[in-house]
C-alpha cells in the first residue's frame, strides 16, 4: 500500500480479503443514544436523506422536547444546516456538550425562536450554560457581514458566551509547512532551531486548542454547566474541542475501542471534511484552499495528554501515528470523502474495507496497545503550560533521527511488564494447585 506522510512512500503488504466489514460508527451513535435518559434526549432521523444538513449523519441526538420540524427550522439558522446536536453526555452530572455551526444572525441580528428553544431545552431549571465560540470576538463580529454571527446575549439570556482563538485553514497549514521545514533543516545552529520552532507557531496552536478543550471540560465537570461549542462551520476547531474534552472527561475514550468510536462520532460522522483537509500534507507547492492539518493537531494534542498521563491510555503513540497516516492516505475507505453523505454516495461500505476492522484484529492491536495502561476512571487534567508541551518527535522528527534507542527502551518496557504478567500467571497456577493438594490432604487427614 502507498502511504505518503510527509512525502515519503512506504510500502506495506497485507491481505485484506479476510477482513469483514463493520461500521462501528453507527452503532456507537445508537449506543450513546440508548445510554442517555430517554426522557431528555431522542434520536432523530430528520436528516435521513441528508436533506436538512449535508454534512451530518442520518441519525443525530437532539433534545426530546424538539420535534423534527423545529430542527428543520433551526437548520436554516445555522451555518451549513448544522443545527445543535448532542456531542457528549457527562454521566456524572447529566450535563452535555453540544456542537453546531455558527448562527446566521447577519448584520441585522436575525433570531430564531426554535434555535433558542432547542438549546435552552438542555438546561436545567435556573441553570446557566456556556457557549464557547472558538473564534475571537472580532472575527465573530466580522462574520456577521457574511451572514454569519454569534448568539446575542439578549436572545440567549441563559447562556454565557466565551470567545477563544483557535486558528483555522491556511494559517494552520502554513504552520505545518514551516514546522516540517525546520525539522528537516539540519544545518542550523541551536538558537535558530528554537526560533524556527517558535515561528512555526505549531505549539501555540496546540496550547490554544488544549486550553479551550480544558475550559470546556472544566465548565462541564467543575461548573456543572452544559456547553454549546461552535466556530464558523463547526467542522474543524469545534470538533477538536469536543473530542479533546471527551478525552479529558471520559475514561472510555482513552481506550482503543473508545477512541475509535470517538473518531467515528466526532470526526467522521460529524462531518470533518477529510478529503479537503488531508489532501496534500506538508509538501505541496500549490496553495490548496481547503488543506489544513486540523486532524493532525487533534492527534498531537492527544499525544501531549498521553505524554502527561502515560498510564491512562490503552493505546500508544503508534496508534496515533497510524491514524495520521491513514487520514492522509489509506487503502481503507474510512477517511475517504468529506462527510457521511459523500461516503454513502460513493458506496464506500460496499466497495472498501473499514480501517477499524483491520486495526481491531489481535495481531494489529498488539502493536497499538500501551503496556502501561491501567484503567483510570478519573478526569485527567493536562497541564497546558508551555513547559509541559513538547514537539511530537514521533511524527515530526520521524525521518530525521534514528529511533533505535527509543524503540529498544519501549521493547524493554514491554518485556518488564510481560515477564511480570507471566510470573503472576505462574504463581496463581501454583497457588491453585497447592490449594487443591491441601484440601485433598485435609480430606485424607480428617477421618
Amino acid at each position: 500500500r502507498f502511504v505518503g506522510p510527509l512525502g515519503t512512500i512506504i510500502i506495506k503488504c497485507k491481505d485484506f480479503r479476510i477482513i469483514q466489514l463493520d461500521i462501528p460508527g453507527m452503532e456507537e451513535c445508537l449506543n450513546i443514544a440508548s445510554s442517555i435518559e430517554i426522557s431528555e434526549w431522542r434520536l432523530s432521523y430528520v436528516n435521513q436523506e441528508f436533506a436538512v444538513c449535508p454534512s451530518y449523519p442520518p441519525a443525530v441526538t437532539v433534545p426530546k422536547a424538539i420535534d423534527d420540524d423545529a430542527l428543520r427550522k433551526v437548520a436554516t439558522f445555522r451555518h451549513g444546516g448544522r443545527f445543535p446536536v448532542l456531542s457528549y453526555y457527562h454521566k456524572k452530572n447529566g450535563m452535555v456538550i453540544m456542537r453546531s455551526g455558527q448562527p446566521l444572525t447577519g448584520t441585522n441580528g436575525r433570531r430564531c425562536k426554535e434555535d433558542e428553544k432547542l438549546i435552552n431545552a438542555t438546561l436545567r431549571a435556573g441553570k446557566r450554560g456556556y457557549i464557547i465560540d472558538t473564534r475571537p470576538l472580532n472575527v465573530a463580529q466580522q462574520a456577521r457581514a457574511k451572514g454569519g454571527g454569534f448568539e446575542q446575549e439578549a436572545h440567549y439570556p441563559q447562556w454565557r458566551r466565551i470567545h477563544k482563538s483557535i486558528e483555522r485553514y491556511h494559517i494552520l497549514q502554513d504552520s505545518l509547512i514551516k514546522l516540517v521545514e525546520s525539522c528537516n533543516d539540519q544545518t542550523q545552529n541551536m538558537d535558530r532551531w528554537l526560533s524556527k520552532l517558535e515561528a512555526s507557531n505549531w505549539l501555540t496552536h496546540i496550547k490554544e486548542i488544549l486550553t479551550t478543550a480544558c475550559l470546556a471540560a472544566q465548565c462541564l465537570d467543575r461548573e456543572g454547566a452544559s456547553i454549546l461549542i461552535h466556530g464558523t462551520e463547526g467542522t474543524d476547531s469545534t470538533l477538536q474541542v469536543t473530542s479533546l474534552a471527551q478525552i479529558i472527561l471520559e475514561p472510555r475514550s482513552r481506550t482503543i475501542r473508545g477512541f475509535e468510536a470517538l473518531i467515528e462520532r466526532e470526526w467522521l460522522q460529524a462531518g470533518h471534511p477529510f478529503q479537503q483537509r488531508c489532501a496534500q500534507s506538508a509538501y505541496c507547492n500549490s496553495k490548496q484552499k481547503w488543506e489544513s492539518p486540523v486532524f493532525l493537531l487533534f492527534l498531537d494534542c492527544v499525544w501531549q495528554i498521553l505524554r502527561q498521563f502515560p498510564c491512562s491510555f490503552e493505546f500508544n503513540e503508534n496508534f496515533l501515528i497510524m491514524l495520521f497516516e491513514h487520514a492522509y492516505a489509506s487503502q481503507f475507505g474510512t477517511f475517504l470523502g468529506n462527510n457521511e453523505s459523500e461516503r454513502c454516495k460513493l458506496k464506500l461500505q460496499q466497495k472498501t474495507m473499514s480501517l477499524w476492522s483491520w486495526v481491531n484484529r489481535p495481531s494489529e492491536l498488539s502493536k497499538f496497545t500501551n503496556p502501561l495502561f491501567e484503567a483510570n476512571n478519573l478526569v485527567i487534567w493536562p497541564s497546558v503550560a508551555p513547559q509541559s508541551l513538547q514537539l511530537w518527535e514521533g511524527i515530526f522528527l520521524r525521518w530525521n533521527r534514528s529511533s533505535k534507542y527509543l524503540d529498544e527502551a519501549y521493547e524493554e518496557m514491554v518485556n518488564i511488564i510481560e515477564y511480570n504478567k507471566q510470573l503472576q500467571a505462574k504463581v496463581n497456577l501454583l497457588r491453585r494447585q497447592l490449594a487443591e493438594l491441601e484440601t485433598e490432604d485435609g480430606v485424607q487427614e480428617s477421618p
Binding site: 545552529n189 486550553t211 502501561l372 527502551a409 515477564y419
Partner: protein, 655 residues
C-alpha cells in the same frame, strides 16, 4: 528560634489561595508551618539552598518576601508587618551567607551513624581502585608522587597518573608553564586502544613563550599511546577568549612548537556567560502564564541549550578522538577546573559504561570534579564570597547527563531523580563531599572526620535511583554511546524535571519510571513467592508420596500440620500482595512526594533521611492524583488553576 505568625505562602502557579502559617527561622532551616488544622503542611528550606532574598514593595496585605533557592525552588511569602519582614530579611541574609565552613549544615548534621559507619561511607568511593579498574599502572602510565603534600600544585590531588617517560623534572618544569601549575595529568585511560584523556590548565605562552619541559610533557603523553603518532590538544574555550588570554601571558599551544599535536577549539563560554544564561532561563521559568512564544523566545534568548550543546560537543569530540581515531587528547580551558571538568567527564561517560552505573557515576564526579579541584565552594556560593565566582558548571554537566539519558533510555543504571538529588546536595552542604575548593582544603578541614559522605547515603537508598529500563546485558549499555554526527539541535530539550521541579502542576502526572519500578518490585516478590510455592509443592508431593508408601506413620500428620501453619503465613502473602497489586498502579502514577524529599520534613530529618521517604509515597494514590489533577486546570491561561471549586470558578470567570 525566631518566628513570625500569620505569614502567607503564595502559590505562584495555581491561583489557589495563599496558605496561612507560621514562619520559623532555625540555625539551619527556614520552616513554614501551615496553620490549617487538618493539614499542618511543612516546608523546610535549608539556609544553604537560599540563592537570593528579595524584599518587595509593601502592599495592603503585607510585605512580600521572595526567596529563590539554588535548587530552583521559589518561595513567595507575605509577612503582615513591614518590621517583621525586614527582620526576617536581615536574618536570612546573614544565615544564607555563612562566612566560615564550620557554620555549614554538614558540621551539625548527624544521621546517627557511628564512627565506623561514617568511615565506611567515606571509603565507598575509592579513586585508587578506579585507576586500577582502568588498567593502571601499566607499561606506559605510572602513579606519580610529585605532588605529595601538594608541593607542585595545591589544587590537584596528591595521587596522579602521568606518562612513565615524564620525569619529575619534566612535570615540575611543565607545571611552571601552566596556569596555577596545573600540569597535564591523566583523567581517563581507554584500555581498549591505550588512548587517554589528559587534563591541564592553559599554557603561559603569551605571544611567543615556550617551555621545553611542557613540550616534552606533551610528547610523553603521545608516546604513552603507541597506537597514534599525534595527540589532540582541545582548548574548550572560544578562540577569541583564548587569544585574549595571550595578552596576559597565558594562551594556548602553538602547533609549531609542539611536535605532532592537532589543536582544536571547542567554544564553551566562560562562567560569567553561563551564570547569566541560567539567570535568563530561570526568569523564563518564573513568568506567570507565559505564552508559547514567550517561553520559546525566552529559552532561545537565554542561550542555555546552546551552551549545553557546546559542552556535549566537547565531550563528543574527545570521545570520538579516543575511541575512533585512537588518539590521546589533552583537554584544557583557562584554569582547567570548569570547562575541562565538563569536557572530560562527558567524554568519559560516553566512552565507558562503568560511569553510567550508579557507583561509576559517583566515581566520575569524585575523579573529574572533586579530586581535580573544581571550586565547589566558590561556584556554588556555599560561603559568603565573590558573586562573580558563582556559576552553574556542574549543573550543566548533570544536564548533559540527563540529555543523554533522554537519548539512550536503557544505557544508564540510574534515573533522573539521582541527578536531581545530587544537584540538591551540591548546594545543600548537608554532606561534606562538595565542600571546599580543593582536596588540600578538605584535608585541612578534616572533612572526612567531621562530616558524612553523600555517596554512602545515596548508595543506601539506591533502590530509589535505579532506572528500571537499565539492563547490564543490554546492547545499549555496552561500549561507547554514539551520538548522531549531524547537528541535531532538536536533541536538546528543556529540562522541565529540574528547573520546574517544585512546580508539580507542570510535571507529567504519571511517571513511567515509578510505574516500572513498582512493576519490577512486584516481579521480584513474585519470583520469591514462586520459589517458595514450588518448594512447598515439592514437599507436599513428597509427603503424599511417602504417605501412600507408609500410610501409618505417627509423626507425619503433625509434621504436616506444622508445615501448613507456616504455609498459612506464606499463603497470606498472596492476599497482601494482591492488595499490593491494587495499590501499585495508583501509587506509581503519583509522581511521588519528591518534594517531601527535598523540602525536608521533620520526620525525615529525625531519621536522618532527607531524601525520599518511600512511605509517604505509598500513601499518595489515586486520591492524591484526583485532588492534584484539577489543579492542572492551567487550562485557563490567564490565571492558572485552583484546587477547590471556588477558585476554579474564579479562574474560569476571568477567562
Amino acid at each position: 528560634m525566631e518566628h513570625v505568625e500569620n505569614v502567607r505562602l503564595v502559590d505562584r502557579i495555581s491561583s489557589k489561595k495563599a496558605a496561612l502559617g507560621t514562619l520559623y527561622l532555625t540555625a539551619t532551616h527556614v520552616i513554614f508551618v501551615e496553620t490549617a488544622p487538618d493539614a499542618r503542611k511543612e516546608t523546610w528550606i535549608l539556609h544553604s539552598q537560599i540563592a537570593t532574598i528579595e524584599k518587595q514593595a509593601t502592599t495592603a496585605t503585607g510585605c512580600p518576601l521572595l526567596i529563590r533557592c539554588k535548587n530552583f525552588q521559589l518561595l513567595q511569602l507575605v509577612i503582615p508587618q513591614e518590621r517583621d519582614c525586614h527582620d526576617v530579611y536581615i536574618s536570612l541574609i546573614r544565615l544564607a551567607r555563612p562566612v566560615k565552613y564550620e557554620e555549614l549544615y554538614c558540621f551539625s548534621f548527624n544521621p546517627k551513624l557511628d564512627r565506623e559507619e561514617r568511615e565506611q561511607g567515606w571509603m565507598l568511593i575509592d579513586l585508587s581502585e578506579e585507576y586500577k579498574r582502568m588498567g593502571l599502572p601499566n607499561n606506559y602510565w605510572q602513579l606519580s608522587d610529585v605532588n605529595r603534600e601538594y608541593r607542585v600544585c595545591d589544587s590537584y590531588p596528591t595521587e596522579l597518573y602521568v606518562p612513565k617517560s615524564a620525569t619529575a623534572h619534566i612535570i615540575v618544569g611543565s607545571s611552571k608553564f601552566r596556569s596555577r601549575r596545573r600540569f597535564p595529568a591523566l583523567s581517563y585511560y581507554y584500555k581498549d586502544n591505550h588512548a587517554s584523556i589528559c587534563r591541564s590548565s592553559q599554557p603561559l605562552s603569551g605571544f611567543s613563550a615556550r617551555c621545553l619541559e611542557d613540550e616534552q610533557m606533551l610528547q610523553a603523553i603521545r608516546k604513552a599511546n603507541p597506537g597514534s603518532d599525534f595527540i589532540y590538544v582541545v582548548d574548550t574555550r572560544p578562540k577569541l577568549n583564548a587569544m585574549a588570554n595571550r595578552a596576559a601571558g597565558k594562551g594556548y599551544e602553538n602547533e609549531d612548537n609542539y611536535s605532532n599535536i592537532k589543536f582544536q577549539f571547542i567554544g564553551i563560554e566562560n562562567i560569567h556567560v553561563m551564570r547569566n544564561s541560567l539567570q535568563k532561563m530561570l526568569e523564563v521559568c518564573e513568568l506567570k502564564s507565559p505564552s508559547m512564544s514567550d517561553f520559546l523566545w525566552g529559552l532561545e534568548n537565554s542561550g542555555w541549550l546552546r551552551h549545553i550543546k557546546a559542552i556535549m560537543d566537547a565531550g563528543v569530540f574527545i570521545a570520538k578522538a579516543v575511541s575512533e581515531e585512537g588518539a590521546s587528547v589533552l583537554v584544557h580551558c583557562s584554569d582547567g577546573w570548569d570547562r575541562t571538568a565538563q569536557g572530560c567527564s562527558v567524554a568519559s561517560l560516553l566512552l565507558d559504561p562503568h560511569y553510567r552505573t550508579l557507583k561509576g557515576f559517583m566515581v566520575l564526579i569524585e575523579k573529574d570534579w572533586i579530586s581535580f579541584g573544581h571550586k565547589f565552594t566558590h561556584r556554588y556560593g556555599n560561603l559568603d564570597g565573590d558573586p562573580r565566582e558563582i556559576s552553574p558548571v556542574i549543573d550543566q554537566f548533570l544536564e548533559c547527563v540527563w540529555q543523554l539519558m533522554e537519548q539512550f533510555p536503557c544505557a544508564f543504571e540510574f534515573n533522573e531523580r539521582f541527578l536531581i538529588h545530587i544537584q540538591h546536595h551540591i548546594y545543600s552542604c548537608q554532606f561534606g563531599n562538595f565542600l571546599c575548593n580543593s582536596q588540600k582544603e578538605r584535608q585541612e578541614l578534616k572533612i572526612q572526620e567531621r562530616t558524612y559522605s553523600l555517596w554512602a547515603h545515596l548508595w543506601k537508598n539506591r533502590a530509589d535511583y535505579l532506572n528500571p529500563l537499565f539492563r547490564a546485558d543490554h546492547s545499549q549499555t555496552w561500549g561507547v554511546l554514539h551520538l548522531p554526527t549531524a547537528p541535531c539541535n532538536f536533541m536538546y530539550k528543556f529540562w522541565n524535571g529540574m528547573y520546574n521541579r517544585f512546580e508539580k502542576g507542570l510535571q507529567p502526572r504519571q511517571s513511567v519510571t515509578d510505574y516500572l519500578m513498582a512493576v519490577k518490585e512486584e516481579t521480584q516478590q513474585l519470583e520469591e513467592e514462586l520459589e517458595a510455592l514450588e518448594e512447598r509443592l515439592e514437599k507436599i508431593q513428597k509427603v503424599q508420596l511417602s504417605r501412600t508408601k507408609v500410610r501409618s506413620k505417627q509423626s507425619e500428620p503433625s509434621k504436616h500440620s506444622g508445615f501448613s501453619t507456616s504455609d498459612n503465613s506464606t499463603a497470606n502473602t498472596p492476599q497482601d500482595y494482591s492488595g499490593n497489586v491494587k495499590s501499585f498502579p495508583s501509587r506509581s502514577p503519583s509522581q511521588g512526594d519528591e518534594d517531601s524529599a527535598l523540602i525536608l520534613t521533620q520526620d525525615n530529618l529525625k531519621s536522618s533521611d532527607p531524601d525520599l521517604s518511600a512511605n509517604s509515597d505509598q500513601e499518595s494514590g489515586v486520591e492524591d492524583l484526583s485532588c492534584r489533577s484539577p489543579s492542572g486546570g492551567e487550562c485557563v491561561p490567564s490565571e492558572d488553576s485552583g484546587k477547590d471549586r471556588d477558585s476554579d470558578e474564579a479562574v474560569f470567570l476571568t477567562a
